[in-house]
């Protein structure tokens, strides 16, 4: 039973990986082509930061960060709640 699961899992993932890599060849581009990032880099000076990652995280896409903070907030309260759970 155990061996069967191993073989099944290995078989499935091998087939999956094989089809994936035969379908799509991933390679690095020579220059940055993404429109969004080019826009962000162009307007970086308006944010007052020169670190593009910080600028995206806290200005261009600050709403994502709000969601991230809420997830952390929910998890901490959840861990507290589950840890103090009574029988």
């Amino acid at each position: 039973m155990n061996l069967l699961t191993y073989l099944l899992a290995a078989g499935i993932l091998t087939v999956f990986g094989f089809i994936f890599f035969s379908t799509k060849h991933l390679s690095y581009p020579m220059v940055l082509t993404s429109e969004m990032s080019l826009f962000y880099l162009e307007h970086l000076s308006q944010t007052g930061a020169i670190n593009a990652v910080s600028a995206i995280l806290l200005d261009f896409r600050a709403y994502d960060t709000l969601g991230e903070i809420l997830v952390l907030f929910a998890t901490i309260s959840g861990v507290m709640l589950i840890a103090r759970r009574e029988e």
């Binding site: 007052g48 020169i50 995280l57 806290l58 600050a62 903070i69 840890a83």
Partner: protein
């Protein structure tokens, strides 16, 4: 866990770790780093402290951590709401990246430390 070597190393290293964390937060907008990374480093410092000195000494800061954590969320939303009430687009650019970095750092520091403490101090009811 609380051997002399660990304690001494912690005592020597801790100021440097904290200063490095604050540096990463404060210079997050002009150098590699940011609020999240710095907050994680600070949380690492706090976890190191707890690991080497046990829970007894840091225990009294725990309630402060919780208010820091929910205060962080409130502040983040508050800054957004001010811009909203002034009829500006939500979370607009007012050069607030350093301030938001600090808020995120405080939040992440408090949050990660709390998660660690709650999992590590697990006290299951006796059955």
């Amino acid at each position: 866990m609380t051997s002399t070597i660990v304690r001494t190393t912690t005592r020597v290293m801790l100021p440097f770790i904290i200063v490095f964390g604050i540096y990463v937060i404060a210079y997050g907008h002009i150098s590699p780093g940011g609020g999240f990374q710095g907050g994680m480093i600070l949380a690492g410092a706090a976890i190191l402290l707890i690991l080497s000195y046990g829970f007894d000494k840091p225990a009294r800061f725990m309630s402060h951590l919780q208010s820091l954590e929910s205060g962080g969320v409130l502040l983040f939303i508050f800054i957004g709401s001010i811009t909203l009430l002034l009829w500006l687009p939500y979370l607009a650019d007012l050069g607030i990246i350093p301030i938001l970095n600090i808020i995120v750092a405080v939040k992440v520091f408090a949050g990660v430390t709390l998660i660690y403490v709650f999992i590590a101090r697990w006290e299951l009811p006796h059955d």
